[in-house]
């Protein structure tokens, strides 16, 4: 703290501020942050912060970056330095956020590609969000987002994914409907889906959603036959990436109940679910989701007494175990 104080004291205390007594180091830090925000710090002092040691409190660095950005285009070089070099991740992220609107369209994507190499996931996320916000989106921004889909961080990859497609809503059990939230819903009947007779197709180019593989009427007769309740590797598909399951099934007449959930005991590792052509939601919580049960409200999309089409898009980043590897059932829920 002493060092920080000394450094900042040398950098910032100028003009009217220097006349004040310094009751203690902590109070001085507070005063200096305020001075920066109120534009009382000299340009030299702000610029010097660029190379200040990491012991300078992050809140001062972040405040400084915001103050610098107020200068507009002339702040670009300094902000770039902060964005690429500052030891504090949030300072870098702040600098990126404030810098991008100041850049020309042609400068943005290269800059974002550069900062995407950052070690911090929040910084990479900001880079991808800025890339996603570009309208129209240039090719290099699109390329950056596609790269981001495979980022080891779930936060980052989800950001890319959300930018590249529109199926972003999370699965939600019928139990979470507002009208059921203060009721206990009992499973009064359970209809297990068959563990055979499913169809399967890998999607390494990730184009399935663009080609309507989730469509109700898609001809999937040339897709591989597969089962569930075991990893797809057990059916001979040694593959990591995106793959699709399709399953046609007949339902009996509607049993008595208030709602129906489609309950997956586990999918390794992320899943997006369509029923009869309607998107029900995605379950994408990162690698830890591989063994997490989830359920999605069928939202009256089930066709009782008729044929139904269930489509599940599965994504596995890497590993020897993937797919709908535990059973799936329809659970009929009733309010007590």
């Amino acid at each position: 703290m002493r060092l920080t104080f000394a450094v900042l004291g040398a950098l910032l205390i100028a003009g009217p501020l220097s006349a004040h007594p310094l009751p203690n180091a902590e109070e001085e830090l507070r005063r200096q942050r305020l001075a920066i925000l109120q534009g009382q710090a000299s340009d030299e002092a702000l610029e010097a912060l660029r190379s200040a040691p990491s012991s300078v409190p992050p809140l001062i660095r972040r405040a400084a970056v915001r103050t610098i950005a107020r200068k507009g285009k002339e702040a670009i070089p300094l902000l770039k330095d902060f964005a690429l070099k500052d030891p504090d991740a949030l300072t870098r992220r702040t600098a990126i956020r404030l810098l991008v609107p100041l850049l020309s369209e042609s400068e943005k994507a290269p800059f974002l590609t550069a900062v995407y190499r950052d070690e911090d996931e929040q910084v990479r996320t900001a880079a991808l969000e800025e890339a996603a916000a570009m309208t129209p989106r240039p090719e290099d921004a699109e390329r950056l987002l596609k790269e981001g889909q495979h980022d080891p961080s779930t936060l980052v990859s989800q950001t890319a994914l959300q930018a590249l497609w529109t199926f972003n809503e999370e699965v939600q059990s019928a139990r979470l409907r507002p009208e059921f939230r203060d009721h206990q819903l009992e499973v009064v009947a359970s209809i297990p889906l068959a563990e055979t007779q499913w169809r399967f197709q890998t999607d390494p180019r990730e184009v399935g959603h663009l080609e309507d593989w989730m469509g109700e009427d898609l001809d999937d007769s040339d897709w591989h036959r597969i089962g569930i309740a075991k990893p797809w590797q057990d059916f001979g598909h040694q593959y990591s990436g995106v793959a699709w399951y399709r399953y046609r099934f007949e339902l009996p007449q509607q049993p008595a109940g208030d709602a129906a959930d489609l309950a997956f005991q586990a999918v390794d590792e992320s899943a997006w679910v369509w029923l009869n052509g309607h998107f029900l939601g995605g379950h994408d919580i990162g690698p830890e989701g591989y063994n997490t049960p989830f359920a999605t409200d069928t939202q009256a999309r089930l066709k009782w007494g008729e044929e139904n089409v269930l489509v599940v898009r599965v994504r596995k980043r890497s590993g020897a175990h993937a797919g709908i590897w535990k059973p799936v059932q329809i659970e009929i829920l009733k309010k007590n």
Binding site: R33, L37, R62, E130, P178
Partner: protein, 1097 residues
């Protein structure tokens, strides 16, 4: 039934014999017969009398008018006796021939005269014996033989009269069977009461054209019209009195007197011509209740006018005579009999009688016990059981410390607006009255939204005109009905002071939906000049910004964004619920002085107005997995209430826990946990579990940290251990631990009662940390906790608290109205989308030095000073709490030294919250918990509190700090950071501290030396410092007033000294005990006691 006693004492003739003679033949027939005589003259032998048996001792088997209808005894258990209604009787026992094998009663061979061709009457006096009934059916008179229609020839003829058990003790139906040749008709009365040993007159009349009537003691107890029927088909069987003719015999066990059969339908009138009825009167009143009065109904039960002199009331509450005058035939007049309620609390008996013009007694003398109850303390913090109870449970709730329960409960099948019929209204009034008699006050629960049929008929409409199964409260006629419902309740119950509060429209808004009827569209057009936008899913919860083409990349929208504008209108007024609550409240206020509340008020997005123009808004929350959620709800409620301008918050804790959230039933095939709790074996299918005692304790303290005007609990069955073995049903609330009830009682006695008056009056302290709940993000990004306290939006609040911060929830409207002045920190969690004016305000706040704490979802236009990455719970309670604590440490470290809280705890588990205008009060709550042996095996909730210690540093140098929970001054040390002191807290426990500039010196008590009975004395209690200066704080006081016998007097209880002073006007009742009285005042901060004596004469 009311708890009054009826003594029968008529016209100076005492005793049963006199009563018997007076009532005998008391005008059952159309023409009145002189009292004191059995049937005689034409009533006994007139041309319409077919037969009459009066069983006189000198010829009990003979027909009274001389007809040759001699009876013969059948069976060894039947005999004639002298102990009849008017002398003789037929008596049937089951001493020697028990069961149904042997026929009993008296028989008469077939007589054609006993089959009247048209109208007829069957009647008799009966006195059930001690062993009555012998079976489900007791036949009184049989000339038919088989029950019901029988296809065999000759089986559907003549008549039969019997009693059938009605399922409850001493309750029966009168049943008649009439044979019409091919078929038999069975007719049944209402359920009647017949008590062993009491004589009752029973009668059945048939007019020969389908009209059937039953009478009990002259009062009509049933009627039925048999469409198309004429006279009964004459039979050829003999007559049996007191049993069935054959087959399975069904004797009446008891005595039968004066059996009469007439060939006309006799019009009976009740025994007494005028009667007093107290069924509608309250019996419980507050001391000094204004306008207290008994409600006495005087009825003329005859068809001719009756001259009544007066009603005389005598008793301890004062003798009164109220003139009456003439009552027309059939008239009922209601008299208000004023009561003197200035007497000391207790039970008082009143005697009431109706007198004729020359002081002759006209009615039964009736006695009524009324109760005078102590007045509720105006300072008290109400403790409301959000549930309906009856009988013993009401007393148990009172004993536990509840002040109110739901005495008026509307069910889903209730029609509106008159959702109760007169009988139901009376029943509810009785319940409320009974509750008050044990000191329990009531609240009511009403809504047009719970009346299923009404909802079906007034639905919202989808875009294609389809019904959405959601009540369209935007319809003007629906709002008018809501007002009418309020009026109805005001009219029927507004005179009952113990029905204090009315809950309007609980839990109705979960079903609200945008509606697109022409009326709804027009209403929106009128309000905004715009058309309802295309809204995608048409959900009430908004539209995700990613689904809106061209949505601004930096997620900043104008206040007038069409989607935002629509949803703001929808939630504030457009869906109609808030105006509907207001209309109901207006209707209620027209006739009643209720306080009116709505809940759950923050199960709605963060815009002002939830609840409409009610007096209080409340919320219910579950304490799992972390009780801090209860405080979050209270915080949210306060902001919502402050936005309404008129409502104050209350807060409710669920005593129930959902089993699935704390200790789930194992899935099929999964073995139960080895270390499961005993209750899991005893109630393996229980769906609800009782909240753990430590969660209950901590939740109470956390609830109190935010300003609330009352507290509530739900789940009577989960709180009260059954007093006797009950039949367990999985869906019912059944207590799974006795410890919670004990803890509840302790919390009421040690926290709520003594500290309630102070806590209720403590204002909010100014806060330096704001926590935005963004309506815009709720509508555009599906955010918001909707009062549930779940998800990251709530967990970040917990992090703030573990970091030692005291956030205040703010809405965007709060920022529009008040700006962000005074705050140093602003939390922006789940604030994905903001409006441009809000962004401008936030940026200006930040430029002024304010610090933004945001998450990765934050609107890109705002750059946070600190980024708190969202944490996704693992549903492992200790790991989740540890992760939140870790984030709190990170937050705390980043904030240091840029933010210095006014008060700091060395232990993040010891939570602090300042209260009072200048933050001079401090709540301290222990959140240290671990897994216990109740639900802990499942690791979903740490339900067991553990002791915790902390060193607290409070920036208040030079102060004296008192613990109001222990009435002790704390040992403090002056440090550069402030006043420091150590605190030890028990599991789930808390404390309320107060800082004073000067220590308390003494407690002064002054007042008169003498107070006359029936008058008041002005007493003053002053809490002063050593120099005699008043202590400028709210301080708890316990005032014990003991009368000359040492008994605690009415106004004893918990009070508060305001600025160190309490002025107490002590009312001494005219019947209070004379002699030396004592007042003992215990001051709650220092524990000092002051006493004074005075004389009552």
């Amino acid at each position: 039934m009311k708890s009054f006693t009826v003594f029968k004492k008529l016209a100076g003739i005492a005793g049963i014999a006199g009563l018997v003679s007076l009532l005998a033949g008391a005008a059952f027939a159309v023409e009145e017969v002189a009292p004191g005589q059995p049937y005689s003259g034409d009533a006994a032998s007139g041309e319409n009398v077919v037969a009459l048996w009066q069983f006189p001792p000198d010829g009990p088997a003979l027909e009274s008018s001389g007809k040759p209808f001699r009876l013969e005894i059948r069976g060894r258990d039947t005999r004639f006796t002298d102990e009849g209604r008017f002398g003789g009787a037929l008596e049937i026992t089951h001493e020697r021939e028990p069961g149904r094998e042997a026929g009993q009663g008296a028989m008469l061979a077939h007589q054609p005269e006993l089959s009247p061709p048209g109208a007829f009457t069957l009647e008799m006096w009966i006195q059930p014996g001690d062993l009555f009934p012998a079976g489900p059916v007791s036949v009184l008179l049989d000339k038919k033989y088989l029950f019901g229609t029988d296809s065999r020839p000759g089986m559907n003829r003549d008549y039969l009269l019997m009693l059938r058990a009605a399922g409850r003790e001493h309750r029966f139906y009168l049943e008649a069977e009439l044979g019409f040749g091919d078929e038999t008709e069975s007719i049944r009365s209402e359920a009647i009461s017949l008590d062993p040993g009491n004589w009752a007159h029973v009668a059945f009349t048939y007019n020969g054209a389908g009209e059937c009537l039953f009478y009990l003691n002259g009062e009509k107890v049933g009627e039925k019209h048999l469409e198309g029927r004429e006279g009964v088909h004459p039979g050829t069987r003999g007559l049996v009195i007191g049993d069935r003719a054959g087959s399975l015999f069904s004797r009446f066990v008891g005595k039968i007197s004066e059996v009469r059969i007439c060939s006309e339908a006799v019009a009976f009138v009740p025994l007494q011509s005028v009667a007093l009825d107290l069924e509608h009167s309250r019996t419980a009143f507050y001391k000094k209740e204004e306008g207290a009065a008994l409600e006495v109904e005087v009825k003329n039960r005859r068809t001719t006018p009756a001259a009544i002199g007066k009603l005389r009331v005598t008793g301890a509450t004062g003798d009164r005579e109220i003139p009456i005058g003439t009552l027309e035939g059939g008239e009922t007049r209601t008299l208000k009999v004023p009561l003197d309620t200035s007497l000391k609390p207790g039970s008082y008996r009143l005697d009431l009688e109706l007198l004729g013009e020359r002081e002759t007694l006209l009615s039964e003398q009736t006695s009524l016990d009324v109760k005078i109850l102590p007045r509720p303390r105006p300072d008290e913090l109400p403790v409301i059981m959000w549930g309906h109870a009856r009988g013993r449970n009401v007393e148990r709730l009172k004993e536990l410390g509840f002040t109110h329960f739901i005495g008026l409960w509307q069910g889903a099948a209730s029609p509106v607006p008159a959702f109760l019929n007169p009988r139901e209204v009376q029943s509810v009034r009785d319940d409320i009255d009974k509750a008050l008699s044990v000191g329990m006050r009531s609240v009511g629960r009403i809504s047009i939204g719970h009346a299923r049929k009404y909802v079906e008929n007034h639905q919202r409409e989808g875009r294609n005109g389809e019904g959405l199964k959601s009540l369209n409260t935007a319809l003007p006629e629906v709002q008018e009905t809501a007002k009418e419902l309020g009026r109805f309740v005001g009219r029927e119950f507004g005179d009952m002071p113990s029905l204090e509060g009315i809950l309007v429209d609980t839990e109705v808004r979960d079903h609200t939906r945008p509606s697109f009827s022409p009326g709804d569209r027009e209403a929106y057009r009128k309000a905004t000049g715009a058309e309802i936008p295309s809204l995608g899913a048409d959900s009430a919860r908004g539209v995700h910004y990613r689904q809106i083409p061209g949505f601004p990349a930096r997620r900043v929208v104008g206040e007038d964004h069409p989607v935002l504008q629509y949803y703001r209108w929808f939630w504030k007024e457009g869906d109609g619920w808030n105006p509907t609550h207001s209309e109901t409240a207006r209707g209620l206020r027209e006739k009643g002085k209720f306080w009116i509340w709505h809940d759950p008020a923050v199960r709605a997005p963060s815009v002002y107005g939830s609840g409409g123009e009610v007096d209080f808004i409340s919320q219910w929350t579950y304490s799992y997995p972390d009780p801090l959620k209860i405080e979050l709800a209270g915080n949210d409620l306060l902001t919502m209430a402050q936005g309404s301008g008129s409502a104050s918050p209350m807060n409710m804790t669920q005593v129930i826990w959902y089993r699935s959230q704390v200790a789930p039933i194992p899935r099929p095939g999964v073995p139960p946990l080895k270390n499961r709790a005993p209750w899991e074996n005893e109630q393996p299918e229980a769906r609800f579990v009782t909240i753990s005692p430590d969660h209950l304790g901590e939740s109470l303290w956390l609830k109190l940290t935010e300003p609330v005007k009352g507290i509530m609990y739900h789940g009577i069955g989960s709180l009260l251990m059954p007093e006797e073995k009950i039949e367990y049903r999985p869906g019912s609330y059944v207590a799974t631990t006795p410890d919670t009830e004990k803890r509840f009682r302790q919390l009421i006695e040690t926290v709520v009662i003594p500290l309630g008056p102070v806590i209720k009056a403590l204002p909010e302290a100014s806060r330096r940390v704001a926590y935005l709940q963004s309506f815009t993000s709720q509508m555009f990004a599906g955010r918001g906790t909707y009062g549930w306290g779940n998800g990251w939006g709530a967990d970040a609040y917990l992090i703030a608290r573990y970091a030692g911060l005291e956030p205040k929830i703010v809405y965007e409207e709060t920022i529009h109205r008040d700006g962000l002045e005074g705050f140093n920190i602003l939390f922006l969690m789940h604030c994905d989308v903001l409006t441009s004016p809000i962004v401008a305000q936030i940026q200006a706040f930040q430029d002024r030095g304010g610090m933004i704490i945001g998450d990765e979802f934050l609107c890109p236009a705002i750059q946070p000073d600190i980024l708190l990455p969202a944490y996704r719970r693992k549903s492992v309670a200790d790991e989740d709490k540890a992760a939140l604590m870790q984030l709190a440490r990170h937050l705390h470290d980043e904030l240091h030294p840029f933010f210095e809280p006014r008060v700091v705890s060395s232990n993040p588990d010891v939570l602090l919250k300042q209260r009072g205008e200048n933050g001079e009060y401090l709540f301290v709550v222990n959140d240290s918990r671990t897994y216990g042996d109740y639900v802990g095996a499942h690791r979903l909730v740490m339900e067991k509190g553990t002791p915790a210690s902390a060193r607290v540093t409070w920036r208040r140098n030079g102060s004296a700090v008192y613990n109001l929970s222990t009435s002790k001054m704390l040992n403090t040390a002056e440090t550069p950071s402030g006043l420091a002191f150590d605190l030890d807290l028990g599991p789930g426990d808390g404390a309320l501290l107060v800082a004073l500039d000067k220590p308390i010196g003494k407690v002064l008590l002054s007042g008169p030396e003498k107070v006359h009975r029936g008058e008041s004395g002005a007493f003053e209690i002053k809490v002063v410092d050593a120099a005699g200066g008043p202590i400028p704080r709210l301080l708890p006081l316990k005032v014990a007033i003991r009368d000359a016998r040492g008994e605690e007097a009415e106004q004893s209880g918990a009070y508060k000294a305001d600025n160190g002073v309490l002025k107490l006007q002590l009312d001494v009742a005219s019947n209070d005990t004379a002699g030396d009285w004592e007042i003992v005042v215990t001051e709650g901060a220092s524990g000092q006691i002051s006493r004074a004596t005075f004389q009552v004469n």
